[in-house]
């Protein structure tokens, strides 16, 4: 195995890893302070499509996490970066709360389609509009393609099925910008000056967090909080670099063994 370079950056998933809704996971704030004291670059990465960066920052600050706005990288930001790079005007099928992340982007006379988790937009008329745009050459950008998510009253369709519907209708492929796409992790590291081989990802989703990160050359630590289910560590190959109890334990390991 090639020698790894020294660890310089840590990517940290948010929901399920350092907090669950409005509760911080035990010891997480303290663990974060210790990471910073070790002069490691930290980035917080999430696939959320329901909250803007501002909202996330506010929530985390309330939970007494020492975080600044430019350390947060979301799949929405990844989408925004792509829109700016391609210089296109999007039809935004995203949650209202998330619109803040696209402030300043021209949306009139759209020539691109962005899809996030937005059930309120997934009815026939709106999808038909999106379909016609894509058929005429507009790129289809998907925040992520998750199949469904869990609500109190049962399972609910995620954006994935609707992206699939539009891909089939137009015989095109969506550009997926969220985890576990490689481009997401590379974008998250851009601006840190760190290569994937100098970075490690900590998350509770074996496939989207750990699998995705390791596929791009990072190390992955799977934490047994949030959506973790026993046996998850066996479901990816190669397995996680480390599977441990929590973010706190992950940080302990990093400080003891990877510096």
């Amino acid at each position: 195995m090639a020698a790894r370079r020294a660890l310089k950056a840590v990517l940290v998933d948010l929901s399920g890893t350092i907090h669950v809704e409005d509760t911080a996971l035990p010891g997480a704030q303290e663990a974060l302070k210790r990471l910073r004291a070790a002069s490691l670059t930290v980035r917080f990465v999430t696939n959320t499509t329901k909250e803007s960066k501002r909202d996330l920052l506010a929530r985390l600050k309330k939970l007494e996490f020492d975080i600044s706005e430019d350390e947060i990288f979301t799949s929405m930001i990844a989408a925004r970066n792509l829109l700016e790079e391609k210089q296109v005007r999007p039809m935004l099928l995203v949650h209202d709360q998330a619109l803040a992340d696209f402030k300043g982007i021209q949306t009139r006379d759209p020539n691109a389609v962005v899809i996030g988790l937005a059930p309120e937009h997934f009815h026939y008329q709106t999808l038909n509009e999106a379909f016609r745009l894509i058929l005429n050459g507009a790129p289809l950008i998907a925040i992520h393609k998750s199949k469904y998510y869990k609500k109190i009253d049962g399972l609910a369709l995620g954006p994935g099925p609707f992206v699939t519907a539009l891909e089939y209708a137009t015989d095109t492929e969506a550009i997926v910008v969220g985890k576990p796409e490689k481009t997401f992790f590379l974008e998250a590291l851009r601006g840190t000056g760190c290569e994937p081989e100098e970075a490690i990802m900590i998350g509770d989703d074996y496939k989207v967090d750990v699998g995705g990160a390791q596929d791009v050359g990072m190390l992955g630590i799977l934490v047994k909080t949030g959506k973790y289910r026993p046996g998850d560590e066996e479901k990816i190959s190669p397995p996680p670099y480390l599977t441990c109890e929590s973010f706190l334990h992950a940080v302990d390991h990093i400080l003891q063994h990877l510096l």
Binding site: F131, A156, P161, A169
Partner: protein, 270 residues
């Protein structure tokens, strides 16, 4: 390409797609495609057998035929092969009780089917009824079944209405397939079973039949896979790139049904 005389030799029966070949549906009963009313009349006066083979699942056969007759077409219900009757037979054969995600109009085609305690989902071209809520309910039914069965009345990607192109049932079929990790069964074009039943009703063998359609994959490709010949019209949902389809090469490309009938009357067996 070979001469038309060669390409159409031995044709004794014609299957006609409806939407995009006879007419474009839409507001006010739709609009006939130029020359199509007369083309159907000429076909019927000839010695060729004629049948209509459609995936229409937003309207009942009765309303569809009523609309077409209102526009001057010589069509009757008995001459139409459409998915709902085929679906009914399948449901009954397999003891399936469907959760229906179909247009209200088509619901009546399933009036005598037991829909209590559903053990499968059946989707048709539900149009506006493809709301998030309705789709989610269908999804939840499938996820609750130990052996999920999804029946789809067709697998079309889109069709043409007078207002423009519209998402068809196939897209929602794919959405549910993806969400549940299953494969749907298609009742309607391009399912070979559907074409074969249309041929039985038409009364000719596949090699004696030609399909005329606007969907290069669903109509033309599907018909050819059953051993029929097929002509692609440049009306309806046709797009120029269809003539360069990587997998399907029609037996001929014609501007419209009128031109197809000109050629058939000149070259087919009579």
């Amino acid at each position: 390409m070979a001469a038309w005389g060669d390409r159409l030799a031995g044709v004794r029966g014609v299957l006609l797609d409806i939407s995009g070949v006879l007419y474009d549906s839409g507001e006010g009963g739709g609009r006939p495609i130029a020359g199509s009313v007369d083309a159907v009349a000429r076909l019927k006066r000839s010695g060729l057998k004629v049948r209509f083979c459609t995936n229409e699942s937003q309207k009942s056969r009765g309303r569809l035929v009523g609309e077409l007759r209102g526009l001057g077409f010589d069509v009757s219900e008995a001459e139409v092969t459409s998915p709902p009757p085929a679906a009914r037979r399948l449901l009954q054969e397999r003891g399936l009780r469907p959760h229906l995600l179909v247009h209200d109009e088509v619901r009546s085609e399933f009036d005598h089917i037991d829909t209590s305690n559903p053990n499968c989902v059946l989707i048709g071209d539900a149009g506006d009824h493809f709301s998030y809520r309705n789709l989610n309910r269908a999804f939840q039914v499938l996820m609750g079944l130990a052996d999920p069965v999804l029946l789809s009345l067709g697998s079309g990607r889109y069709y043409k209405q007078s207002s423009g192109l519209m998402l068809d049932v196939g897209c929602y079929m794919k959405a549910l397939e993806y969400a549940c990790g299953i494969q749907a069964e298609v009742v309607g074009k391009p399912s070979p079973e559907f074409f074969r039943s249309a041929l039985r009703e038409l009364g000719v063998e596949a090699h004696q039949a030609v399909m005329v359609g606007d969907d290069i994959v669903g109509d033309v490709g599907g018909a050819q896979r059953c051993g029929m010949r097929a002509l692609q019209v440049r009306t309806g949902k046709f797009r120029p790139s269809d003539e360069q389809h990587p997998e399907v090469k029609a037996d001929g490309y014609v501007d419209n049904l009128a031109e197809a009938v000109d050629l058939l009357l000149r070259h087919a067996d009579q």
